[in-house]
């Protein structure tokens, strides 16, 4: 019954996904860890854990704490590094044929571009997603992703060294996400993905210390969904390039909400920890939702929210 619903979405740079449901970076390992629980090929794609030039050990524990309808984490981008990723992980993902988006992290612009350059000749990279949460040394240590000027320049530099579709992942910790999205578009990004986690802190009142070793962390989960929806919609009204939305998606209803706000595709994040099979179930439920609502093509939903939109 839902078999007739068209789920394919074009997300810029010539990339078409078989459906709009991807999994978010940092919540899906390198994808392969989820094979016991779902068929990777049923997903729109996977976004792998942020890859840095060299392996990273991550932060000391505690790294994670549950919050009301959410989770706060400061993992510290623990990852195997680009060389091992290319040797061990990418070939396995390529073999499976799943659309693989590689999230790229660096401690400075040079680091980040180094990883983009290493990925550039590789087949099996559906898109590169730039994680600009690193401190921007040139502009006084502010996160690179908070400065429109820095975003535009690094996107342009990355654009010059790769022909792979380029996504810029936007932080919500800014005064205007429409401005940072416009900067990514001006720099030549094929799509923007949003939102990354919100900065948060939990304090243990008995010990009078932050619960996380690092102090603050990134808030994710359903608690941030309304923030994400509002930001996706702001960005939708500002830019022409496709938007990949995320923030607290746990079911197909949430996916529809993001599409209505203007996202062309979405990423399921924290919910993967709760149920490793959830992303595939959401794909099936989304098709069923569309069928039940007389939607023949999921693209009909994109940006279709009505009423006041301030």
């Amino acid at each position: 019954m839902s078999a007739g619903v068209k789920l394919e979405v074009a997300v810029g740079g010539g990339l078409t996904l078989r459906n709009p449901v991807l999994t978010a970076s940092g919540t899906f390992g390198y994808g392969l860890e989820f094979e016991p629980y779902l068929d990777l090929n049923r997903l729109g794609g996977v976004v792998v854990k942020g890859i840095s030039p060299r392996p990273r050990a991550g932060n000391p524990p505690p790294r994670l704490v549950e919050t009301p309808s959410g989770m706060l984490n400061a993992i510290g981008l623990q990852n195997v590094g680009v060389d091992r990723f290319l040797e061990e992980k990418l070939p396995a993902l390529r073999e499976r044929g799943v659309a693989t988006v590689v999230n790229v992290y660096g401690q400075c612009e040079e680091d980040l571009l180094h990883v983009v350059e290493k990925l550039a000749p590789e087949s099996g990279v559906a898109a590169v997603e730039l994680n600009l949460s690193c401190p921007n040394v040139k502009e006084g240590g502010l996160e690179l992703g908070r400065s429109p000027r820095a975003i535009e320049s690094i996107t342009r530099d990355a654009r010059a060294i790769t022909r792979q579709p380029l996504w810029v992942k936007l932080t919500p910790n800014v005064s205007s996400i429409a401005e940072t999205a416009l900067a990514a578009e001006a720099g030549g990004a094929d799509a923007v993905s949003l939102i990354n986690t919100l900065v948060g802190m939990v304090i243990d009142v008995e010990r009078r210390r932050p619960v996380l070793h690092r102090g603050s962390g990134g808030l994710s989960g359903p608690a941030i969904r309304p923030v994400a929806i509002a930001m996706v919609h702001q960005v939708y009204r500002a830019v022409k390039i496709p938007i990949v939305g995320m923030g607290g998606i746990v079911n197909a209803r949430d996916v529809v909400e993001f599409l209505l706000a203007g996202a062309r595709a979405v990423q399921v994040g924290t919910a993967n920890f709760n149920d490793p099979g959830v992303a595939m179930r959401i794909v099936g439920d989304l098709a069923a939702w569309c069928a039940a609502h007389g939607i023949a093509d999921v693209n009909e939903l994109v940006g279709a929210v009505k009423g006041n939109q301030a």
């Binding site: 919540t27 899906f28 390992g29 860890e33 989820f34 016991p36 629980y37 060299r54 392996p55 990273r56 050990a57 991550g58 000391p60 524990p61 505690p62 790294r63 994670l64 704490v65 549950e66 309808s69 959410g70 989770m71 984490n73 993992i75 623990q78 590094g81 989960g221 359903p222 746990v250 079911n251 924290t270 919910a271 993967n272 920890f273 709760n274 149920d275 490793p276 099979g277």
Partner: protein
């Protein structure tokens, strides 16, 4: 391979002092789980519980027709929001369940075990709710369970849950309570140290589960005496299968700067005490 399923509650037993034994119908997991491994459990409505909780499986029991294990029993203490919600579950309610997960306890290489009196002495050390990990181990040990000693500590008698069960299934149970309401007054490490020192030449294996400070003290006692020691760790984790990277502990001897941490959920939860910083 772990199973990702929902399971019905069979029984919820209130053992007093905040301790509960929750029995779930989960034949696949009951058949495959090994002592020291764990399951992640959560409410089926993710809006009521975003992060599942790791639980040791305390014991397995056969179905009504006997034979193969069909149910798992989870022993827990009501502490926070999650365990409070679990304590309200009634027979027939369903839970989300993922498992078996992680690396459990391992026994000495049988090749090292000469015949008769030269068997490695197994010493189990439990602190408070850390006892939840040991019934399954004693079940697995079969006749050998009768040749184990359990050192069991708690704040008071009320924390020594399932004490009768342990007295019936372990060879010997030595208790210690901080308030002196049962056994020796003080920490469980005192009778453990006395036991290790009474016959220092004996080949032994210590298996411990309990509060972090107890594990550290037990590990120190054992390492100082060259006694092999396995510790079952508990850390906050979001996934239980190796991807959230939230539950790491520090390695004692990292091979490089990039290799400082191991995941409790995947490389553990049971570690050789020499592997990690406690």
């Amino acid at each position: 391979m772990p199973y990702n399923l929902t399971a019905a509650v069979e029984r919820q037993e209130d053992l007093g002092a905040g301790y509960h034994l929750l029995t779930l119908a989960a034949p696949e997991i009951a058949r495959e789980i090994r002592a020291g491994q764990f399951v992640m459990i959560g409410l089926t409505d993710i809006d009521q519980m975003l992060i599942r909780r790791p639980f040791s499986v305390a014991l397995v029991s056969p179905g009504p027709d006997g034979g193969e294990p069909a149910s798992i029993g989870l022993l827990y203490k009501v502490i926070g929001r999650g365990t409070t919600l679990f304590s309200r579950l009634q027979p027939g309610d369903r839970l989300a369940l993922l498992g078996p997960l992680g690396r459990g306890f391992w026994l000495p290489d049988p090749a090292l075990e000469a015949g008769g009196g030269d068997e490695t002495e197994l010493l189990l050390v439990a602190g408070g709710i850390g006892n939840a990990i040991f019934p399954l181990l004693l079940q697995e040990l079969g006749p050998r369970a009768a040749r184990t000693t359990l050192f069991f500590g708690g704040r008071g008698r009320a924390d020594l849950t399932l004490l009768d069960w342990f007295e019936a299934h372990a060879g010997r149970v030595v208790t210690a309570t901080e308030d002196g309401s049962h056994g020796q007054r003080g920490f469980v490490t005192a009778p453990l140290a006395a036991h290790l020192d009474a016959d220092p030449g004996r080949r032994r294996l210590v298996m411990a589960c309990g509060p972090h400070a107890m594990l550290r003290a037990v590990a120190e006692l054992c390492l100082a005496r060259g006694v092999p020691c396995q510790v079952a760790m508990e850390e906050t984790m979001a996934c239980g299968f190796g991807v959230c990277l939230g539950c790491v502990v520090e390695k004692r001897e990292p091979e490089s700067d990039f290799d400082r941490f191991v995941r409790v959920c995947t490389e553990g939860p049971v570690f050789d005490a020499r592997e990690i910083v406690l």
